[in-house]
């Protein structure tokens, strides 16, 4: 489940040195995913040493639940980054989908299953709108999604009058509070299932392979008969649905669909949205995706935030320390790969 790519030339870090043939294990040890696992273990030991309560059931459950949402947000950005684009509207779309779901349950009196499907459709539709505008205009997704972020969030505030929807189905809210074996949040399992489905899509699915090809080299993909525009639209629609699922998770967690759940304009989601896939090895230039890396990246970011809170670092310093730790994490990973390659350990 490590990095999936269509064009190995786009991934110099994974290329074998001096023509040596690498086995699967050796390749894995050179991957971002392995580096992230090492970092997660190292930081877990550090936080556990500082506070043994870090590994308490309550703490692990809370960590699992928060990371489930952050990883899903990371997936939402990952599926767009794979095309070489960006989706700054993940937060806005996620909140719009969650608010639509809340409205369907509270105002329209819909069953939670249909309300969820309705919210998912809203997320997918808004994502597809982004994709269509990007393809038709030929402008970079950065510009388009920056604009639609404001438009979508503004429309949502106008339509809901900034009111929360609080009459959420108990089944829906129960899911966010459920514990399996006293420590595992079902939300995390759901995220893992979505991750597996994405991995299957990009590894075995025809659509996934076409998306990777379109992201790696759009011109070559067009020549080989792939409709690159359609791939971009598909990716944005998928991104919208994944953002919607992240929004539903938050609604399930809090028991209310709240307009401010992702901050002003949904901007609070942007940090995990970018960090999870980029730390995980998804290339910003497109053509390579790492579902496992995004999962581990999202988990690492959540763990660092939780660990810093646990170490009682002043709340206002957390962002600074988080940034420094993430920079350190990336540099350590770079050093690890350089060392292994220089010493021909793999």
């Amino acid at each position: 489940m490590s990095g999936i790519e269509i064009d190995s030339a786009a991934v110099p870090e994974a290329a074998p040195k001096q023509g040596r043939q690498l086995g699967p294990l050796q390749r894995f040890m050179l991957s971002n995913e392995f580096g992230l696992i090492v970092l997660i273990v190292v930081f877990a030991v550090v936080f556990w040493t500082v506070s043994p309560m870090f590994l308490s059931k309550f703490s692990l459950y809370a960590l699992g639940r928060t990371s489930a949402v952050n990883i899903m947000i990371g997936f939402s950005m990952m599926v767009v980054i794979v095309t070489g684009g960006l989706n700054l509207a993940v937060g806005a779309i996620g909140v719009c989908a969650a608010m639509a779901c809340g409205w369907l349950m509270q105002a329209a009196g819909m069953n939670w299953v249909f309300a969820t499907l309705g919210g998912l459709a809203v997320g997918g539709l808004l994502g597809a709108v982004n994709g269509v505008v990007i393809v038709r205009s030929g402008l970079h997704s950065f510009v388009i999604t920056l604009a639609t972020m404001s438009i979508m969030f503004g429309m949502m505030i106008f339509l809901t009058q900034a009111e929360s929807y609080r009459e959420i189905s108990p089944v829906f809210t129960g899911f966010g509070r459920m514990k399996l074996w006293g420590v595992v949040p079902p939300m995390l399992l759901m995220t893992i299932v979505v991750g597996v489905l994405l991995w299957v899509l990009f590894t075995f699915g025809s659509l996934g392979r076409q998306i990777l090809a379109a992201g790696a080299n759009p011109a070559a993909a067009e020549l080989s008969g792939i409709n690159v525009g359609n791939m971009v639209i598909w990716c944005h629609a998928l991104s919208g649905m994944l953002a919607g699922i992240a929004g539903f998770m938050l609604v399930s967690r809090t028991g209310a669909a709240i307009p401010s759940m992702a901050g002003q304009l949904g901007q609070d989601w942007l940090l995990p949205a970018f960090l999870a896939p980029v730390l995980g090895g998804t290339l910003l230039t497109g053509g390579r995706v790492s579902v496992l890396g995004t999962l581990l990246g999202g988990f690492l970011v959540t763990m660092l935030t939780g660990g810093l809170l646990l170490m009682q670092v002043g709340a206002f310093w957390i962002q600074t320390y988080l940034g420094l730790l993430l920079l350190l994490a990336v540099l350590l990973d770079l050093a690890r790969r350089s060392y292994l390659a220089r010493n021909k350990l793999v």
């Binding site: 309560m53 900034a162 809210t173 809090t254 939780g306």
Partner: protein, 342 residues
């Protein structure tokens, strides 16, 4: 902005007066976390209140922990972390009256007493009670005070807080009701301005365009009160009368100088102090009385009014004394009224 020394003095005096009444042994293992929804000057008094309560009642600690911004998920994450850090009692301003219920229930499931402070959770929840200002009553009384210095048929404008705060609608309704009863007219309500930028922009724009049409201002949130006080001072026209809210130095200074008629004091210090005390008593084995005389408000049937009082020019120098008196009065019979400690 906030005179911490005065608040600390108030606390010390209240504590001195109340310690004698408190004969029960404190549980030194009690670690109280006082957690607002985000940074706001209103809550600053909780920090001193927690420190004083910890000292006076022998608590392990009573610490003020502020989420770095107003975001429900951040507050939730902080509360989860505080459990892991060993805190075992929680005084929480709900980031959302419904959205915070889930985390409150989870905190309570760890055995920690949870209280909603300054804002309430929507029933049903595991919070033992909610202690805060009866916001509707405060807005009503403040408007009545304003009408005392305005002519019959006066036109007033109301500047208030965030619409997502359930207290805001209560305040709007209460001001409307008081104005109607007093024969005045509320010609403008400006909400969603309990932050410096929107408050500066909207209040200054409104007064620039309509100052001549307004006889009185009522402000029912901290930041609008500060901004409106400054605006009236800048205009320099004492014709417009204003009643503010809370005890920011800017508002108090404007009252002294005659630009503002008075302010409705709330009691955040008392909330933090009494809440910490109650948390410790509950951890020491006390239970909440089944027939405790809680008030009912829109969100909950377990409401304790932490008090409100009008402070005009004659009382502004002694506002600490006013807050002190409120806290002392509530503390005097708190245990007898609300707790079973037999």
């Amino acid at each position: 902005m906030i005179d911490i020394k005065k608040i600390a003095t108030a606390g010390a005096v209240v504590a001195g007066l109340t310690m004698a009444a408190n004969t029960a042994m404190a549980d030194s293992s009690t670690r109280v976390a006082l957690v607002p929804g985000g940074p706001h000057p209103y809550f600053a008094a909780w920090e001193q209140a927690g420190k004083d309560a910890a000292k006076d009642f022998g608590l392990g600690s009573a610490d003020y922990k502020v989420p770095q911004k107003w975001e429900l998920s951040l507050q939730n994450q902080m509360l989860e972390s505080l459990v892991t850090q060993g805190y075992n009692a929680f005084l929480v301003f709900p980031g959302d009256p419904v959205g915070t219920v889930a985390i409150a229930d989870e905190l309570a499931a760890t055995g920690a007493p949870v209280m909603a402070l300054a804002g309430c959770l929507k029933d049903p929840s595991q919070a033992v009670f909610c202690m805060g200002t009866d916001t509707g009553n405060s807005a009503y009384l403040g408007t009545k005070e304003l009408l005392k210095v305005l002519p019959k048929g006066a036109k007033i404008a109301h500047f208030t807080g965030f619409l997502v705060d359930p207290n805001t609608q209560l305040r709007i309704d209460a001001v409307e009701k008081a104005a109607k009863e007093g024969g005045a007219e509320v010609i403008q309500v400006i909400a969603d301005i309990d932050a410096p930028e929107p408050a500066e922009e909207k209040i200054n724009a409104y007064l620039a365009a309509h100052a001549g049409e307004v006889d009185g201002l009522i402000t029912t949130a901290w930041v609008p009160a500060v901004v409106a006080s400054n605006a009236l001072r800048k205009i320099g026209d004492k014709r417009i009368k204003m009643v503010g809210i809370d005890h920011d130095e800017v508002v108090l200074g404007a009252i002294k100088d005659g630009f503002v008629h008075g302010t409705m004091l709330q009691n955040p210090y008392g909330q933090g102090y009494l809440g910490s005390y109650a948390a410790d008593r509950l951890r020491s084995g006390c239970t909440v009385k089944k027939d405790a005389p809680f008030k009912s408000i829109a969100l909950t049937d377990k409401f304790i009014d932490s008090g409100t009082v009008f402070a005009g020019a004659d009382a502004v120098d002694n506002y600490v004394g006013s807050m002190q008196k409120i806290t002392k009065d509530i503390f005097a019979d708190f245990e007898g009224k609300y707790l079973n400690c037999g």
